[in-house]
Symmetry: C2
Subunit: 360 residues, 2 copies
């Protein structure tokens, strides 16, 4: 297997380090438009190359790990250059535009991805082969995505120790706007409000642990963040409006002395905080689900998205095309009888005929 | 020396633990309106008592460490009960109202205080005798504060390993609104916006480290927070308005594609974050400043506030009243020649005649 990694910074470098020495991967070829970054990553690569076209030639799996603002031009440049049997994925923090660019260039071979792990540092110097261990890795299949590409990329993700979770690109973008992009802007705004105080000198050194935590991410790289916010402009604006109106409502509660209402609101936010960080349960014995599927686009996206929404982890997915035409059989392996049962129900509601069986 | 601590939860309990076994303190008497909390704190106290009046009888130093919403009624209850020579302080997170209540009940004996250390936990179970080590402890002298009370409380603070920093009550409230109270509300609002997403199930477990940091304080005790917000209502509303308009400006930059402006803003917030957490320099050899002071109210507050605004740490402060009447001499000990020099300049600008000398 030959994996091509384009962009050998924090994420691309961590993927390369995570794959190094794994039995299944034969070759990891790396490219970075910054020759210094490419040299820095040399220890993690089988081979570093000077041009993206060279990296993807003969590749089975292409990972686009450039900053999001270079993704569109890179896709355009590589159109027609990626082998027919290869899968292509990316790791960008916004998916609607990236998936449109990727599918435009690579068709069903492309599947968007986003590892939910990172660091406020960047560059290969911050890369770590264990960065993704135990982290969710979002995949965003669409009706156009081929099942081979999905399987290849989900395999890569699993080999890096991460858990693939499938959601549609638009849902992803709304989620990360709320979980990452707007919190980032808010941390910077809180610093700005504090630092803008007239009593600035008195304030130096007085900030305690809570403020330190809340504003830690405000020290992140501004250039990378502008590119991310640009790529997820629409969802960010929606989430920002949501936050502003929430803060307005809180101000109203305080201004009009509605303290019981404020108490109720703070209490429910406290409960939500605790629930949000409840670990999803990926454990349990593997259970196989078999379903006959019609030969139409979108089946794979429907099935994987249903699994993602239930928090069910698809450990394996395979399509057997019927020799008699007109459809095929999809075999899924789900961790845990509970998740398998709930996924079978959800798929039945979507109109599929599902058979369930334990794997030996 | 007899210290009375009213309220033996996280802060009162940590003070008691920090004083236990110190040579200078003879007795630590504790009261809590919850008998269970009082019993839990027994190990840290010389003696637990059943009524606040009993705790303050014969005390040299009284620490009011109840939740802020009980402060006003406790002051009213103790009016006329605290010995003439005693100093009274509190530890509440908002100071304008608390100082008004304290001075109303105890006159010049009262000086407001606020240790800038804490925990999202509460109660004596979370108390720690080293909680305050190295932390700033704000004191809020006013024109009414007596220098003896200031010295007694500053001594207590120093014995607990904290650094006394003097600022006026109103400045304190504006600072903590920005550094603590509005960040607290914002963390809850970010959780609420995230948890309110339609895709709630898909979101479970997807939140990464940044979101975890930003929203950690949203797990704090809602009852305590409502009391704090109530006590600092005005400053909180101002800071909240500031944050909302900042977020509105950011939304405008994004909506109208002013990316360079956004980059500049993120970059300056990043620099401010780094500066805000630059440790204030409290080091250096002690330097004495002597100044002749007129016998008028407000001198102490003026001097200590000037020191606080410069980030200069007053290690000692003493007033020698002139036997000839009409004034006296104030002796300050400041850590570091640099801070001493800047403080001498500031006091000279305020009209004082200052003499500087190194302490042997």
């Amino acid at each position: 297997v030959r994996v091509a990694i384009l962009g050998t910074g924090l994420i691309g470098g961590s993927i390369a380090l995570g794959l190094r020495g794994r039995r299944v991967i034969d070759e990891v070829v790396g490219y970075d438009r910054d020759p210094g970054a490419r040299r820095a990553a040399a220890e993690a690569l089988t081979r570093g190359v000077d041009r993206p076209e060279e990296a993807v030639a003969g590749a089975d799996l292409v990972v686009l790990a450039t900053p999001v603002d270079q993704m569109v031009s890179l896709c355009a440049r590589l159109t027609g250059r990626v082998p027919d049997g290869a899968a292509v994925t990316d790791v960008g923090s916004a998916k609607v535009e990236a998936v449109a660019a990727g599918e435009g260039a690579f068709g069903p071979r492309f599947i968007g991805g986003h590892p939910m792990a990172g660091s406020e540092r960047h560059g290969f110097g911050a890369a770590d082969g264990r960065l993704f261990e135990g982290a969710p890795w979002i995949l965003t299949p669409t009706p156009a995505t081929s099942s081979e590409s999905y399987s290849k990329v989900a395999d890569l993700v699993a080999r890096l120790g991460a858990k693939p979770v499938a959601v549609p690109p638009g849902v992803h973008d709304a989620l990360v706007a709320r979980l990452s992009h707007v919190p980032q802007l808010t941390a910077s705004a809180l610093v700005d409000v504090a630092a803008g105080a007239q009593e600035r000198d008195a304030l130096l050194g007085l900030a305690a642990g809570g403020f330190r935590d809340v504003t830690r991410i405000a020290a992140s790289n501004p250039e990378l963040w502008v590119a991310i916010l640009q790529a997820n402009r629409k969802a960010v604006l929606e989430a920002l409006d949501g936050l502003r109106s929430r803060l307005g409502e809180i101000g109203e509660m305080i201004a009009s002395d509605r303290w019981d209402e404020l108490l109720g609101w703070l209490s429910s936010a406290r409960r939500a905080r605790i629930e949000l960080f409840a670990k999803p349960d990926y454990g349990g014995d593997p259970v196989a689900l078999n379903l006959m599927v019609p030969d139409r686009p979108g089946v794979l996206a429907e099935v994987t998205t249903a699994a993602g929404e239930l928090g069910a982890n698809l450990e394996d997915i395979e399509i057997f095309h019927s020799t008699e035409g007109g459809g095929g059989r999809l075999e899924l392996v789900v961790a845990g009888a509970d998740h398998a049962g709930r996924l079978a129900e959800a798929l039945t509601r979507l109109g599929y005929v599902v058979e369930q069986g334990v794997i030996d």
